[in-house]
Symmetry: C2
Subunit: 224 residues, 2 copies
């Protein structure tokens, strides 16, 4: 966005923040805790939704953000997980107005967790709040251990970080020490979980953490 | 970019195209054939440069585009490949003015191929010409076979497509038929190569194709 004047940038972000606040209020009032799920293309974000939603005790809602296609929404529906699709038709990230339109067509019959899967992109989604409570960042071992150094904003802004595809560790050069050093330099606090989408290993801890973190919004119904 | 008015968008693209034409003329006049190397984070773009440059008979030049860090430039230098670094400090893609600044600080002592590794992002780089002769798109099997359906513009605009990390095919669910169907629907013509960054398999064909394609610009010196 460096070719756009600073004034236009500030205006875009200010407008987005304004709508994001409204979306957050709207969802919180309904007992909905919102998770902005971010990561590069192919990080395994949809697999994480499949695994987590089965482990969470309360109601879950899903919004799928994609430039085009409804492949992930269909995939979730086959697992009996109801999901709404946002297509950005070219845009590289979700923003608060897009989520605003989506949530106003959804019915939130019970308190619960709303997962919003952002466009697969390790850069732009981190710049825009969509009215979420937390940002979940997912990265995978096959993408290499230098990602925090090259894409710092996503790591800096994440409230929880998942490292996925750990079943492939024996076949790739992934230096976990180097990865964690870069990650902790940017973000000393966020919980970090290793997960395996094939076996489901690691997701029980993520679900427990998330359930606890969401409970202040979702109320006792979401507690185990 | 959907929150920016159409007029601003048109202006940004028109200005970029104008500079891109100048960059292209400048490079062509020096016998430099330019390859815009695009792909998601961790697709293996830098590995491809390492492998290809060793196989190419003539002179190669490299510009590394990253949001932050000079990890890839250092990595190439360790292989005795000279590379210049562009840091975008937040911006999600390279554009023609950024490459313009970089090439005016470089010395092109002989005709050859200039590889410009774009920011790791399967969305935004495809929207901006940087003055290149061709766009090389790299995707890897670990990112899944649905990428053409979800990120169509990059596949549509590519002049050559590499599928990397094929050594990991036995360990992931990659449906090559589904991938190629999506790819060919968007781009029926672009040459498609499968490569293995670990063993180097497949890169000889890419180098031969590239060398031939570049020869009209680089002259006989680049031919095998």
């Amino acid at each position: 966005m460096h070719m756009i004047s600073k004034d236009v940038q500030v205006d875009i972000h200010a407008r987005n923040e304004h709508v994001a606040e409204h979306v957050h209020e709207y969802l919180t009032a309904r007992g909905i805790f919102t998770v902005n799920v971010m990561g590069a293309p192919g990080a395994g974000k949809t697999t994480t939704l499949e695994k987590l939603i089965k482990l969470l005790p309360g109601t879950s809602y899903v919004v799928e953000g994609d430039i085009e296609s409804d492949i992930d929404t269909e995939r979730l529906r086959q697992q009996k997980i109801s999901a709404s699709q946002i297509n950005t038709f070219g845009a590289c990230h979700l923003d608060a107005p897009l989520l605003h339109n989506a949530v106003h067509t959804m019915e939130f019959a019970a308190p619960g967790i709303l997962f919003v899967e952002n466009v697969g992109n390790l850069v732009c989604p981190a710049e825009f709040s969509i009215g979420e409570d937390i940002k979940l960042l997912q990265v995978c071992v096959t993408d290499g251990s230098d990602k925090p150094y090259k894409y710092p904003l996503a790591f800096e802004k994440a409230d929880v970080i998942l490292l996925s595809k750990i079943d492939l560790l024996p076949y790739v050069d992934f230096n976990e020490e180097f990865f964690l050093k870069g990650l902790r330099h940017l973000n000393p606090e966020a919980p970090f979980f290793k997960v395996n989408g094939k076996t489901g290993a690691g997701y029980d801890q993520v679900a427990a953490w998330l359930s606890k973190r969401a409970s202040a919004v979702t109320g006792a119904g979401q507690e185990k």
